[in-house]
Symmetry: C2
Subunit: 422 residues, 2 copies
C-alpha cells in the first residue's frame, strides 16, 4: 500500500468525555492544509497503552506522517513514554541537553524543580529529540517503514511552536510539496452572496493554480486565496496580482488581512492620525467599548462610552429630548444621530459612534422587527445614521452591530484620508 | 474480541482542512459520558467511499456502538448513502413516510421542493429508519455482528435532537448501564486549590458511587458531581444529599448549577427583588454591561454604564475630583468607591458596581503590578471596594474582573436578603 497523507492523533481522556473540544487538531489541520500537506484522519484516543499501540499500528499502515499530541505532561507521561518505548523497541535514557533546558527553564521562573519535572528529560533512546523551547517536555521523532512519527506535548502554545518552527518546515521540504502562497483578505460591509456576485469576474480569472474560499461570520466575510506552484516566486507574484486586482474592485470593503481585526485596524487608524473616539451604545450594550479596549494601548485613543440601555439614561446622560424619543421612538435615525453627536461633545472626541436597535428575541414590532438597528456616526462637520436589518438571534445581532459600527468608523477615516490625499 | 464502548465518526472534509472545529463530537462525548456510555475513540474522516468503508470496518471490529455524523446533506449524501449500501449489502429504496415528512417540512416553510431534497427519502432497504423531526435527512440504524451503527446528519441541532430523543435513551436501555444522577455546581469567589482544601472533608465522604470533577475558568470553578447506581431513586437521593452537605460548607460560593451564568443569576436576583443596576467600568471596558445585556429582558433592571477609560471621563462624567486621582491614582480604593457611588447617583439605580485596574500587558508598576484590580460597590447605605490581584494576561484579567464584579453584586443581594429574612 502506498503510504500518503497525515494522521493526527490526540491522546487524552478529557477529549473522550467531552470535557474539552479538540481545538489542537483543528489548528494543526488548518496549518497543514495551508501548506498543501493533506490530513487523512483526525483521531482522539484514551491515554492507555492499549489505545496508543492500536492507533499507532493502524495509522502506521497507511499514513506517511503521524502527528501525536498529548500524554506528555509531568503527571501523565509515564504511560505514554513507556508505550512509545514498547512500540519502537526503545528504552528510556536521560538526555543531558533536555535536562539542562528543564533546569534553566525552572530557574528562570524562580520555581523549584520536582522529580516529576526532571523525569521529563528521560527520552526513548531510538528517537530524535526535538527541542521544545516553550516547555519542558521535548518532542520525539521516529521513522519506521517509510512512516514518520512525531510525539508532541498537548499544551497548545508548545505544540504550536513545535509545529511552526520544526514540523511544518521539515515535512514541507521532505515531502517536496508545491509551495503555497496564501493570504486571507478580510472584508466588511457586504454579505457573502452579494460579494460573490460582485467579484465573480475576478474569481473567473484566477486560474487553476489558485483556490478561493469564502469564510463568513456576522458582519465579516474572509476570502482565503491560495496559490500553489513549484516556484515560490511565481506563486508569490500571482498572489500579489490577484490581491491587487481584488483591491481595485472592492477597495472600500477590504479592511485587512490574515489575523487583523476590525477593532485593531480602527485602533491603528485612530492612533496614526491622532484621533480619539467615544461610543454611545444601546443595543450593543457595551460590546463596542469592550472590543476596542481589548486592544492593549487603546487608552491612547478611546476615551469611553455611555451604555444607555434605558431611555432615562438617553434623556439625562446623553441629553436627548424626551419629545424626540416619544415622536420617533428610541430606535430611530433621529435618536441614533443625537446619541453620536452628544456623546462626541460630552467626551470631547474627534469621532463618536452610536447604536440603537432591537437585539431580540422580544421587543420587535411590524414597523421595527427584531434585528432593526440604527448606527450613528458623528464627526467634526456633522453626523449621520444608517439603518440595518440583521437577523433574529440576539447574540448574532449584537456581533453584527459591533462589526458594522467598527466598519463605519474605518470607512469614514479612510474616505477622509483619501480626500485629503487627493 | 469482546466488543465494548462507542466510536464516534465524523464524515467531512471541512474538519480535515481545519475549517471547522469538531464540536459535534465533543457534545456527543459529553452527553454519552454523562449517561455512563463510554467513548473509545473520536474520529474524523474524509467524505470518500474508501475512507468511510475503512473507518466502519475498523470500528466494527472493536466497538459495541458506532455513531456516524455528516455526509447526509442534500448535496452530499450521494457518496455516503451509496457507500453505506455497499457496506451493508443494501439497495436504496423510497421510504414513503420520510417522503411525506420532507414534503410537509417544505410546505410548512413555504419553500419549493427540489429533486435533491426529495432524494433524501431514499434509504437503504436493510436499515431501520429513525425519524428526524428537525430536518429532512433521516437517521439510519444497522446492526451486524453484535455492533450497532447509527448514521445521522451532521447539522448540530438535528444530530442533538436525534441523540437526545432516540440514541441515548435507546442505548442506555440496551446496554443496561447504571443510572447516573449528575449535577454541576457553580462556584465563584475562591480559586481551585483553596476550594479543594475547603471541601476536602466533604469530598472524602462521597464514597465509591460518586465522582467529582473540578472544572476551573477565570473567576469560576464548576464542580461536577456524578452518582452512579442501578437504582435511580438511590442515585438521586445520594446526589441531593451531597449537594445539601456542600451548601452547608460553602453557601456563599455557590451561585447556581448546570447551565446557569453569573449574569443570569444576578439578573434574576435584581428582577425578583425589583432592584436596578448601573456600572462604571474602567479596566473591564464595557464587558460587564455587555454580559448583563446579553440576557434578554435585562432592560428591566439594567439602566446603563459609563465606560470611563480615560481619567478625563472619570473626572467630568463620573464627577471624581482631579485631586483624588492625583493623590491616590486612578487604580485605587478611593476612586473605585467614588466611581460606584457616583454612577449609582447619576443613573439613579439601587446598586452600582465599578472597576478600575491594570489589565496589562503594559501599565504595571512595582506598587501596582499588572493584574491589580479594585472592584467597587455602592448601595443604599454606602459603598465599599476590594482589591484583587489577578494574572498577567489582558483577556483573562478582564474576564476575571467581570466574573468577580458580578459575584460581588450577587453576594451583596443574597446577604441583604438573608438579613431581611432573619
Amino acid at each position: 500500500m502506498n503510504k500518503r497523507g497525515i494522521d493526527i492523533i490526540s491522546i487524552g481522556d478529557e477529549i473522550l468525555i467531552g470535557q474539552i473540544v479538540n481545538t489542537n487538531s483543528s489548528w494543526m489541520a488548518n496549518e497543514l492544509n495551508n501548506k498543501a500537506l493533506p490530513v487523512n484522519r483526525i483521531l482522539a484516543i484514551a491515554d492507555t497503552a492499549e489505545a496508543i499501540k492500536e492507533a499507532i499500528a493502524h495509522s502506521g499502515k497507511s499514513a506517511k506522517l503521524v502527528l501525536v499530541t498529548g500524554g506528555l505532561g509531568p503527571t501523565k507521561d509515564d504511560i505514554t513514554k513507556k508505550t512509545v518505548c514498547d512500540i519502537f523497541d526503545s528504552k528510556l535514557v536521560l538526555n543531558k541537553e533536555v535536562e539542562d533546558h528543564i533546569r534553566s527553564f525552572f530557574k528562570k521562573r524562580g520555581r523549584d524543580l520536582t522529580k516529576l519535572n526532571s523525569d521529563q528529560a528521560l527520552v526513548p533512546d531510538k528517537c530524535k529529540v526535538i527541542f521544545n523551547e516553550e516547555g519542558t517536555a521535548p518532542a520525539m521523532y521516529f521513522e519506521r517503514n517509510n512512516t514518520h512519527y512525531i510525539f508532541m506535548p498537548g499544551v497548545p502554545f508548545e505544540m504550536k511552536s513545535l509545529m511552526t518552527n520544526w514540523v511544518i518546515p521539515y515535512f514541507t521540504k521532505l515531502c517536496k510539496v508545491p509551495y503555497i502562497a496564501q493570504k486571507t483578505i478580510l472584508t466588511s460591509g457586504m454579505g457573502e452572496s452579494f460579494l460573490a456576485e460582485k467579484i465573480s469576474d475576478w474569481e473567473n480569472t484566477l486560474g487553476k493554480k489558485t483556490s478561493l474560499a469564502y469564510l463568513p461570520s456576522p458582519g465579516r466575510v474572509r476570502l482565503r486565496i491560495s496559490v500553489s506552484s513549484e516556484a515560490k516566486e511565481e506563486a508569490d507574484d500571482l498572489l500579489n496580482k490577484h490581491i491587487k486586482d481584488l483591491y481595485l474592485i472592492i477597495p472600500d470593503l477590504i479592511f485587512g488581512s490574515d489575523n487583523d481585526t476590525l477593532e485593531g485596524v480602527v485602533g491603528n487608524l485612530l492612533l496614526e492620525n491622532g484621533l480619539t473616539l467615544s461610543t454611545a451604545e444601546s443595543c450593543s450594550g457595551g460590546l463596542i467599548a469592550h472590543k476596542i479596549t481589548s486592544i492593549s494601548g487603546s487608552s491612547d485613543y478611546f476615551k469611553g462610552s455611555i451604555v444607555a440601555y434605558s431611555n432615562s439614561i438617553k434623556i439625562h446622560q446623553l441629553g436627548i429630548a424626551e419629545t424626540i424619543i416619544e415622536e420617533h421612538g428610541a430606535v430611530s435615525e433621529e435618536v441614533a444621530i443625537l446619541m453620536a453627536k452628544n456623546i462626541r461633545k460630552i467626551m470631547q472626541t474627534t469621532y463618536a459612534v452610536s447604536t440603537t436597535g432591537i437585539a431580540g428575541p422580544t421587543g420587535g414590532s411590524i414597523d421595527k422587527p427584531v434585528g432593526t438597528v440604527w448606527i450613528g456616526f458623528a464627526h467634526e462637520n456633522g453626523a449621520f445614521a444608517k439603518k440595518y436589518q440583521f437577523g433574529d438571534q440576539r447574540e448574532r445581532n449584537t456581533n453584527w452591530t459591533v462589526q458594522t459600527a467598527l466598519n463605519t468608523i474605518r470607512k469614514y477615516i479612510n474616505n477622509k484620508h483619501d480626500e485629503i490625499k487627493s
